[in-house]
């Protein structure tokens, strides 16, 4: 699915003042691309994701998917939240099959799909655990499985690995790349970690502090799958950092 922001602005009205989160953003993402958004905290990266997810509407401009304006949420564009946002009253398995139940997928097929997904994210042993029993990394894995269950054309990820330790992050980077290379969906990945962005993305958009504008665009042509120790990564990360605000 192609995604586009055309002349998009987003103002938030607060009592007594108005905050411009995004200022005339133009952004074009091709189907199947892995795009990263980097920028300082509060620059509107999350707002961009919410616009693409259909959870938010722009004050100005157009938010489009495949050339048509986005009018609301759709399981074709799934957002993975910063803290996973798993449902605590459901088990891991029930969380993952949530979207499948909405689609009224019959139980046998559902069970099979969920089993495959849990295996893909290495959580099959925890199918019947409760969410509060999981660590941060495990929760993000389940969130990923829940999102992939509905086979979305677009995966929107909001700093999903931000709260995790370096080791867990490295593992998840590897898993995410593997999953994406197999599924081929469009990914929009928000992070403030520049090296992570260089590791994962085909293109990187650098955003400014609020009101958010696009400061720079970088192409990352390194071969895949990539690892943090690969030679090109440090140099490219330095380049990207050079275009960011201090």
């Amino acid at each position: 699915m192609d995604l586009e922001l055309r002349g998009v602005s987003r103002d938030f009205i607060r009592p007594g003042r108005s905050v411009k989160a995004l200022d005339d953003i133009n952004l074009s993402i091709r189907s199947g691309e892995f795009v990263c958004l980097v920028g300082p905290s509060g620059c509107g990266k999350t707002t961009v994701l919410h616009l693409f997810a259909g959870l938010d509407k722009p004050t100005d401009g157009l938010v489009m998917a495949d050339g048509k304006a986005i009018t609301g949420t759709d399981p074709g564009r799934v957002l993975i939240f910063q803290d996973a946002a798993l449902f605590p009253w459901l088990s891991v398995k029930s969380n993952v099959e949530f979207g499948l139940k909405v689609k009224k997928v019959p139980r046998e097929k559902r069970d099979q799909l969920v089993e495959n997904l849990l295996e893909m994210v290495h959580m099959q042993k925890f199918a019947h655990s409760w969410i509060h029993e999981l660590s941060g990394g495990m929760k993000q894995r389940v969130a990923l499985a829940r999102a992939l269950a509905v086979d979305p054309a677009v995966l929107l990820m909001d700093e999903p690995f931000g709260a995790l330790d370096a080791l867990t992050r490295a593992v998840l980077h590897k898993e995410l790349q593997g999953l994406w290379l197999k599924a081929g969906n469009t990914v929009v990945f928000v992070t403030h970690n520049v090296r992570e962005a260089v590791l994962l993305g085909d293109r990187i958009f650098v955003m400014s502090r609020a009101p958010g504008k696009i400061l720079a665009e970088h192409r990352i042509d390194l071969p895949r799958p990539r690892q943090m120790e690969d030679p090109g990564i440090m140099e490219l990360a330095r380049q990207v950092l050079g275009t960011m605000e201090r």
């Binding site: 959870l55 399981p75 957002l79």
Partner: protein, 248 residues
């Protein structure tokens, strides 16, 4: 282990004080006297009738309060007009001890069981309605967003997200409502003579039978503990096992 020792010690002390006959029998109930009273009550059938009378009233009253409370809470959460009008009443009446409804109830329903039931319902209704409304209104936005994102909406969203999310708050309200209902029932039965534990308690006083008074008190305590263990502890534990410490 500690509990058993403590209880045995307490019972032993009770027995000892009884045999020493320090106080007259209408002030200090002896252990044997109380046990005899309980046995007598069971043999004569007066105790089972009283227990059943009270429990029946409690169950009927609480069920009515539960259903109407949840429905009211739901309506208050969604209909602004209702929240601003009826909701104000709910807030106000929460400060009224539910037993104060008895005079009103008697004027409305006469000296009948209906009056006591009304008091029991009022005891539980307000806590449950408030808890239902709170639980529903305070559904974390992020759960709604995640669910909508995955394609859920309307009645399904309600059934699979909003209601389960409200469960911990509602469970607390249900437990609170139960204890209010229990208290209002006992108060009501003490004031108005109707077959039940409260009545048996008052009878004990009128007959100067301290043993009966204490016997009924122990039965009331026993019933309270049993229902708490059987119903509400189970409910709380099931909520806690799912939610962990996230339960609000």
């Amino acid at each position: 282990m500690q509990r058993t020792l403590f209880l045995s010690g307490l019972i032993g002390l009770w027995f000892l004080l009884g045999t020493l006959k320090i106080w007259p029998s209408y002030i200090f109930p002896t252990l044997s006297g109380v046990v005899a009273s309980v046995v007598r009550g069971i043999e004569r059938g007066t105790l089972p009738i009283a227990v059943w009378g009270s429990i029946r009233r409690l169950l009927i009253g609480y069920s009515i309060a539960l259903v109407s409370g949840i429905i009211t809470g739901f309506l208050m959460a969604h209909v602004k007009l209702l929240k601003n009008t009826f909701g104000l009443l709910v807030l106000g009446f929460q400060t009224l001890p539910s037993i104060c409804w008895l005079p009103l109830a008697i004027l409305w329903f006469g000296l009948s069981e209906k009056a006591i039931l009304f008091v029991v319902v009022m005891g539980a209704f307000l806590s449950i309605a408030q808890a239902a409304e709170d639980g529903i209104k305070n559904t974390p936005a992020v759960y709604l967003q995640a669910a909508r994102n995955l394609g859920s909406s309307g009645a399904r969203l309600y059934r699979t997200v909003i209601l389960p999310s409200a469960m911990p708050t509602l469970a607390t309200g249900m437990k609170l409502g139960w204890s209010f209902a229990w208290r209002s029932l006992m108060a009501g039965e003490l004031i108005y003579s109707i077959p039940g534990l409260g009545y048996m308690l008052m009878m004990g006083r009128e007959l100067n039978d301290m043993n009966q008074v204490v016997a009924v008190i122990l039965v009331i305590i026993f019933l309270g503990l049993t229902t708490d263990k059987l119903v509400f502890s189970l409910l709380e534990r099931s909520v806690r096992s799912r939610w962990g410490t996230l339960a609000r």
